[in-house]
Each structure stands twice: as structure tokens, then as C-alpha cells.
């Protein structure tokens, strides 16, 4: 039996409860059932508890994490900054600031080829000093005032936009703001764990966003009340397998982006940042991230700041018996990093999987390979039910031209032809790309397609190149 309390609907534990829960949400939200997709069951899911970690000495803000931005430094090496002071701005839109997560001294600006800024590193003070932006009552503010508060505090930098899946441009007037409150990528953090204790800030954040444009919230069927009954937002329930949690998939199923329209998207945890700004006057970029994966000894959640050095997050928690790949993000969309790198601005998890570069598996084309996961029935994983897999980072095949058809379509729950779109990007056919809906997609929407692809094409890279091609064309 499960407890059914009116104000706080508990996660259901039987079918009857799930139906009742769904009906309660149904009364106020539309349910969209997505039939296409794939859930990948990996070992090492994070347990729903938060364990303590030490702060790191150095914090780094990486401009690459803010896609599409040309950074212009405003803080030099040696400057003393408060938490919330700008480190660099967008060269093309200087009102968009990128702020320091901690107070301290800017110790180095790491540069790469052609003086590209790789990271701006700040050595943190023992006692944190925050820039004060003033507590504000969101209900009394106008849309313009909310926007300028976000720009001033550096929180605007977290907004992404469709088309092009790049950092948003404050000069645009978006037709809506979409927030997805769940991520169903393998090993991704569960937002319900992140939300605990932050419900008030989350609602304030939604209220603030609602002043700028209509807010659409995407929730999963078992969402808690704070999400399912959020005010000032249109809540839609998405019932489906990964990538139902992708904001791009949700936009396409609710209100697709047409040519000429702009939509802004924001991560669910970043809405909490906004709420904190208005409720406390401070920029507090503390995230609750998942540390997960088969090579993590004790997968759990930790509180870490954006830009925290990864060595402090995973200290003592990585298996040492084999070569490990550390990923800033989840294994489908994340970035491979080493321990000296910094937690990415948008990242909600750190995962560790085996590298696998010395696996030497023999006769892969005919052996049963019981430890491998595949959607194809030429392997045995379809018989294994809910088995958890420890997948390594091997590509497991050579790159080929596209041979099998229908592979991408079965895991792409958008009203777009993914194969034809990818082919038009490879061919550089701009008219075709536009006609097929490139304005609606982001590389992460193709992550599951890249996983199941038998031709091993780098689909996310191809889509990113296509988006960049089109952005340059339309400038």
C-alpha cells in the first residue's frame, strides 16, 4: 500500500497508485506519450543521498562550456574578485557576463592555440565574499527588469536558445522559455534529489522567467508536486524513454520552432540559481551533482560549485584496477576530461566508465558477447531484461557509410527525419537542412542515435557542424 496525501503526492509503488497519480497530474497537465526512444541501463547509478566532499583550491570557468560565445576577458591575472563578479563577457554581446563562482584571486588565464581562452582560474578564499545584487520581489518586477538583473548577475549566460543550440542572445524576444525537469540519459542526475530543499527557490525562478516569456515545464509521469503543480508555467507530462527528457524533444512535441522564431531553454537546476538570486541577492552556483558510473566506488550525489576542480569531486572514489574514462556529464552527451579539469557550467553529473582500449575481444562478429548491450537481436541483451551493463568507451566497429535504415528513427521522438537531415548536413546542402528542420535540433537530440548507429558515425559532431554552418550563413 502507498500513502496518498493530498498536498504531497508520493512516488507510486503500484499500478493503481500510478494511475491515480497520473490522473491528478492530468487534471492540470497534458500527457504526451512518446513511443520512440531507448533506455540504457548502466551500472553504478548514483544513490539518492548527498555525501560531503571538500572544496577545491582552484575553480575554473571554461568559455567552451558556453556554446557559441566569443569570450572577452574583463578580469586580469592577479585581480581580486567576489563571487558573482564578471570574469569575461561575450564579445558580440558585452551585456552577457560570465561570472566567477567563488571569491578569490584570478590566478591564471589558461590559453591554447591561437590564444584561445581555455579557462579562467580563480584560487578561492577560505571565507567566501559574495557580490550583492539585492533581494527583489519578483512579482513587482517587469520582464525587462528581470532580464537586466539576470544579465548583471551573470545568470543570463546559462540560457541556451533554439535555433542553433547556442548561448542565448539577450536582444531576442523568445516566443517561450522551455525547462525540462528530468534528464533520462544513462547515469544522469535525478532532479528530484537536486530539488529537495530548493522548492521555494525553484518556484521563484519560474515566476521570474514567466515575466520574460511563457514558461513551459516538461515533467516525467512520477514527478513530485513541486514540479507537477508549479505555478506560472504550462506543465506537460512526457511519458517515454530517453531522450524524452531532452528539452529539444519536448519543444518539438509542444510548440515546434519555425524559421524566424526563437525559443530559450534553461536547465532545471539553473532555475534554482535564478530563484536564489532574487531571494537572497547572491549568485550561488552550488549544484547537487551525481557522481556515477561503473568505475565509481560509491556512486552518490555531492554538492559542488560550477567550475569546481574535478579531482576534489571524485577524490578516492575511482576504481584503480583499470584505465578509466572520466566524463564531465553523462556517457552519451558529456565531455571526456582529466582530473585537473573543472566542472562544466551546464554539467549535472560526473561519470566514470572503463576506457576499454586494451579489451582485445576476439571474433566479435559471431561470438554471443553476453556482456555487451545492443538493441539488435543479433546479440543476447534482449533476453536479459533489466540487467545493468558496464559499457566501456570502445566504438566497437569501424566507421562506415550509412547502411541500415530506420536505426535513427526508432530512437528519435521528433517529427523530423533524422537520417535525411544528417545526410544533408554531410552534403552541406543548406536549403535541405533548413527544410528538414535543423532549426529545431541540438546535437544532444542525436545522442541516442549515435549510440545505436551501426555505421559508427559521429552524429553529434556532424549536427554541431551543420548548426554552425547555418548560423554563419544566417548572420
Amino acid at each position: 500500500m502507498c500513502d496518498l496525501i493530498v498536498e504531497d503526492v508520493r512516488v507510486p509503488i503500484c499500478y493503481l497508485c500510478e494511475t491515480i497519480n497520473l490522473l491528478l497530474i492530468l487534471n492540470m497537465a497534458k500527457v504526451i506519450k512518446l513511443r520512440k526512444g531507448l533506455n540504457i541501463n548502466l551500472k553504478g547509478k548514483a544513490e539518492a543521498k548527498v555525501i560531503a566532499i571538500d572544496a577545491s583550491d582552484v575553480y575554473g570557468l571554461v568559455p567552451d562550456a558556453f556554446v557559441g560565445v566569443k569570450p572577452k576577458l574583463v578580469a586580469k591575472e592577479g585581480d581580486v574578485v567576489k563571487a558573482g563578479d564578471a570574469l569575461f563577457v561575450d564579445k558580440l554581446h558585452p551585456e552577457v557576463k560570465f561570472v566567477s563562482p567563488v571569491s578569490g584571486k584570478v590566478t591564471s588565464v589558461e590559453r591554447g592555440d591561437r590564444r584561445k581562452i581555455l579557462s579562467v582560474q580563480v584560487t578561492a578564499d577560505k571565507q567566501q565574499v559574495y557580490a550583492d545584487f539585492g533581494k527583489k520581489n519578483v512579482n513587482s518586477l517587469s520582464g525587462e527588469q528581470v532580464k537586466s538583473a539576470l544579465l548583471e548577475s551573470g545568470l543570463f549566460a546559462f540560457f541556451l536558445q533554439r535555433p542553433y543550440a547556442v548561448t542565448a542572445n539577450p536582444a531576442d524576444a523568445p516566443k517561450a522559455i522551455f525547462v525540462s525537469t528530468f534528464c533520462d540519459m544513462p547515469l544522469a542526475a535525478d532532479f528530484e534529489v537536486v530539488l529537495k530543499g530548493n522548492e521555494a527557490d525553484f518556484q521563484t525562478g519560474i515566476d521570474a522567467l514567466a515575466k520574460i516569456a511563457k514558461v513551459h515545464l516538461g515533467v516525467k509521469p512520477s514527478a513530485s508536486s513541486a514540479l507537477a503543480n508549479a505555478k506560472n508555467a504550462v506543465v506537460t507530462v512526457f511519458d517515454g524513454k530517453c531522450p524524452a527528457g531532452n528539452v529539444g524533444v519536448q519543444i518539438n512535441n509542444v510548440s515546434p520552432v519555425n524559421k524566424g522564431e526563437v525559443v530559450w531553454t534553461l536547465g532545471a537546476e539553473e532555475v534554482i540559481f535564478i530563484g536564489r538570486l532574487f531571494n537572497t541577492g547572491k549568485v550561488d552556483l552550488t549544484r547537487t551533482i551525481a557522481v556515477a558510473g561503473s568505475e565509481i566506488k560509491a556512486p552518490a550525489y555531492v554538492k559542488a560549485l560550477v567550475g569546481q576542480q574535478i579531482s576534489s569531486i571524485v577524490k578516492g572514489n575511482i576504481a584503480t584496477d583499470k584505465k578509466v574514462r572520466l566524463i564531465d556529464g553523462n556517457p552519451l552527451t558529456g565531455l571526456k576530461v582529466c582530473e585537473t579539469a573543472f566542472l562544466g557550467a551546464h554539467s549535472t553529473e560526473i561519470t566514470a566508465i572503463p576506457e576499454g582500449d586494451e579489451a582485445d575481444e576476439a571474433f566479435g562478429w559471431i561470438m554471443p558477447r553476453f556482456n555487451q548491450f545492443s538493441t539488435s537481436r543479433t546479440y543476447c541483451s534482449w533476453l536479459m531484461g533489466n540487467k545493468e551493463y558496464s559499457l566501456d568507451a570502445r566504438v566497437k566497429g569501424g566507421e562506415r557509410h550509412m547502411i541500415m535504415s530506420g536505426e535513427y528513427d526508432s530512437v528519435f521522438p521528433m517529427d523530423i527525419y533524422p537520417e535525411q537531415l544528417v545526410k544533408s548536413i554531410i552534403a552541406g546542402d543548406i536549403e535541405k537542412m533548413e527544410a528538414l528542420g535543423i532549426y529545431e535540433v541540438a546535437p544532444e537530440d542525436f545522442a541516442v542515435c549515435e549510440f545505436v548507429d551501426s555505421s559508427k558515425l559521429e552524429l553529434q559532431r556532424i549536427v554541431r557542424e551543420g548548426l554552425d554552418m547555418l548560423r554563419k550563413e544566417n548572420e
Partner: protein, 392 residues
């Protein structure tokens, strides 16, 4: 196995760019990936984990699905041979051994010529060897009559691999089904070797390698004559094989295409493993059945309208040729149209030009040309929807 891997790693530098055997790098890489799954790991950006499926696994399963046809074809060659020499109930094992020895040279020639060209072109382009020919190489011997000389098969395979595949960019880029282009070349360049009465039953398998017919077990024959059901339809004769025979496959015909049962086993393997599309397969049969039924009064004695689906390579083409993912329609909706038209056109060619033996081959080649158009129309409707939505 680890000893073998160590050995391969040791000799690998000799096959790299500056090594002694750099001209054989593609061959070495092909051999290494045949023995071991490549250890290459994913790049820093993109999906870090991948499904275990790859091109090799898919092609392996298609070849496995072809094995029942191959084995039965070998048996049938021997069976027909012994029947023709007057033995009423040929011994099963003898038949198989005879057929095995008769068919094996064709399989070897097909693979050696095709893979030789593919290896050369891969090395020339400095790319990996692609697996597409593993399937085509098995299909080619199964769609030629047993008396087809080996040098002609070699020539046709070379033509098809070069002009129907490599010229377009290799596996995944071809418009036409490579095995069917081989057969088309054979049929139009050497029609006497591909049709008529004399090609279907083997007199002496050694002589048939070089194309000499005449001696069977010491007895001189001009040729062993036996007509296929389609041949009899063409001549307007009553079909001598019973309906059951056309299903079990104990009739003369191209090596692998006679037995519906063996093809059905292959179809089950392909459908269940998800390698072939059931939409295409089903539509071919539906299209064929519809046209065959419409023309059901147009047949000779002892031939029911539905036997069109069991003779003349119709089943083989429906299961193995039409479902080739590269050359068929690629949209799910397009597959229904593509399959339906293949079945319909194949039977149409056959009834209007009675017993014309190449109905299935020509229907599939024709629809290979139209598949991109079918896909274009399906995708265009999606594009129009988007434009209309933007205009609203």
C-alpha cells in the same frame, strides 16, 4: 588468442605508412578487425558508449541466413543430376557431395574476384575494407544456373563490383543491388548460358567449370536438357512440377532460389534478428499475389496463380534482394510502396511476356532506380508540413 594479438601488434608497424608492407595496410587492418574487435575508443566529444552492433555483425547474420539456401541448393544440384541420369530415387548423401563439389568453385570464384577488387580499391583509397561484399559474394553463386562457366561468373562479378559499387563510392553508396547487376550482366551478355533448357542440370561438374557439356559417367550426351517451370510457361507447355515440388524446391533452377522452405528459414533468421525489414518483404508478396490473382486466368495447365510466388526466384528476390537496406527505400512508409511495386512489376513482366525468366531481377533493378524518388516524396510531405506550420 592473446598470443595472436601480441604477434599482430608486433608486425603491425611493418604495415603502417612507412613500413615495408605499407601497400598491404588495408588487408592487414581487415584481417586484424576480422580476428579482434577494434580497440579504438570514442573521441572526447560525442557519445562515449556505443551499441555492440556493427556492420560486420549484420553482414554475418545475412550470410548465416543464406546458408540454408546454399546447402539445399548444393543438394538439389546433385539430386537433379542423378534424376537426369536415370536414377529414380537419388541417394541423399551422394547428391549433396556432388552438388557441394559442383557449387564450391563458383562460391570461391565469386569471393576471390569480388574481394580482390574490394581490397585493391580500399588500399587505393587508403580506407578500411568494407563488409558489403560478404553478402553479395554469397548471393552471386546462388542466382546463377549450375552450368554457368566460372570465367563468366568472374567477369560478371568484376563488372558489377567496379561499375555498380566502387564507382559510386563503395558499400552504402550504390544505387543498384550488386548481385542483381551481376546477374543482369550475365543475362544480357551471355543469354545462352543463363536461360533455355540446357543450363539447369549439371552433366559433369568438372566439364561444366570450363563450359563443356557432353560426358556423363562415360556416356556421351549432347546436353542434359530439363526445363524449369518458367521455361515451360514460356513455351506454353503444361508445367511438369507439382505445386508441392515448387515449394520444397526439387526442381531445376538457379542454384539457391528453388526451395521456398530454405528461403523461409532464411527469412525467419533475418526478420527475427531485425536485419531485414518485414515491411518490404511483406509488401513484395502482397504486390505479387495481387497481380498474380488478377491474371489468374492467364496460366497453363497444372499451374495455380499463386505458384507465381514460389517459382522463378520470386521468393529469393523478395527475401534477400529487395530487403537490401542500401538500395531499397529508406523511409518506413516508402518501404511499403517499394516492396509492393517490386512484387507487382515482377509478376506483371512474367504474365504479359509468358515465363520471361528475369521478371524479378528487372523489377528489383527498376525499383532500385525509383527508391530515391519514393523517399523524396515521403520526405517532401514532411517538409511541406513544416512550411505550412511556419506560414500559419
Amino acid at each position: 588468442m592473446s598470443a595472436l594479438k601480441k604477434y599482430l601488434d608486433k608486425i603491425k608497424p611493418a604495415f603502417q605508412k612507412d613500413g615495408k608492407f605499407h601497400a598491404f595496410q588495408s588487408v592487414f587492418d581487415g584481417f586484424e578487425t576480422f580476428m579482434f574487435v577494434p580497440n579504438t575508443t570514442a573521441k572526447a566529444r560525442g557519445a562515449h558508449i556505443h551499441d555492440a552492433i556493427d556492420s560486420k555483425r549484420i553482414m554475418s547474420f545475412v550470410v548465416i541466413a543464406l546458408i540454408p539456401c546454399l546447402l539445399f541448393g548444393m543438394f538439389n544440384v546433385g539430386y537433379q543430376h542423378y534424376l537426369a541420369t536415370g536414377i529414380a530415387t537419388p541417394d541423399l548423401v551422394d547428391s549433396f557431395i556432388y552438388g557441394f563439389l559442383a557449387v564450391l568453385p563458383k562460391v570461391v570464384v565469386s569471393y576471390v574476384v569480388g574481394l580482390g577488387i574490394e581490397f585493391t580499391v580500399a588500399q587505393w583509397k587508403k580506407e578500411e575494407i568494407q563488409e558489403g561484399f560478404l553478402v553479395s559474394g554469397m548471393l552471386i553463386p546462388l542466382i546463377v544456373p549450375i552450368n554457368c562457366p566460372l570465367w563468366i561468373i568472374a567477369l560478371a562479378t568484376a563488372f558489377a563490383v567496379i561499375f555498380a559499387k566502387e564507382v559510386f563510392g563503395g558499400t552504402g553508396m550504390n544505387i543498384f543491388n550488386v548481385a542483381l547487376v551481376t546477374r543482369a550482366f550475365l543475362f544480357f551478355a551471355y543469354p545462352s548460358m543463363m536461360s533455355g533448357d540446357k543450363v539447369w542440370v549439371n552433366g559433369n561438374y568438372i566439364d561444366s567449370i570450363i563450359g563443356v557439356r557432353g560426358v556423363v559417367d562415360g556416356q556421351a550426351y549432347d546436353a542434359v536438357t530439363m526445363a524449369t517451370p518458367l521455361g515451360e510457361l514460356a513455351a506454353g507447355d503444361a508445367v511438369s512440377a507439382s505445386a508441392m515440388d515448387t515449394i520444397t524446391g526439387l526442381i531445376p533452377g538457379s542454384i539457391g532460389e528453388t526451395s521456398v522452405i530454405a528461403i523461409a528459414i532464411g527469412a525467419i533468421i533475418l526478420l527475427w534478428s531485425g536485419v531485414a525489414s518485414w515491411k518490404t518483404m511483406l509488401s513484395v508478396f502482397v504486390g505479387g499475389a495481387l497481380v498474380a490473382y488478377l491474371f489468374k486466368d492467364n496460366v497453363t495447365d497444372n499451374f495455380q496463380w499463386w505458384e507465381h510466388l514460389t517459382v522463378g526466384g520470386f521468393c529469393f528476390g523478395a527475401v534477400f534482394m529487395a530487403t537490401d537496406p542500401v538500395t531499397s527505400a529508406r523511409t518506413e512508409c516508402g518501404k511499403y510502396i517499394y516492396g509492393f511495386l517490386i512484387g507487382a512489376i515482377a509478376i506483371l513482366i512474367r504474365v504479359l511476356n509468358p515465363g520471361y525468366p528475369e521478371g524479378m531481377m528487372l523489377a528489383i533493378l527498376l525499383m532500385n532506380v525509383f527508391a530515391p524518388l519514393i523517399d523524396y516524396c515521403v520526405v517532401q510531405s514532411n517538409i511541406n508540413k513544416r512550411i505550412k506550420r511556419a506560414a500559419k
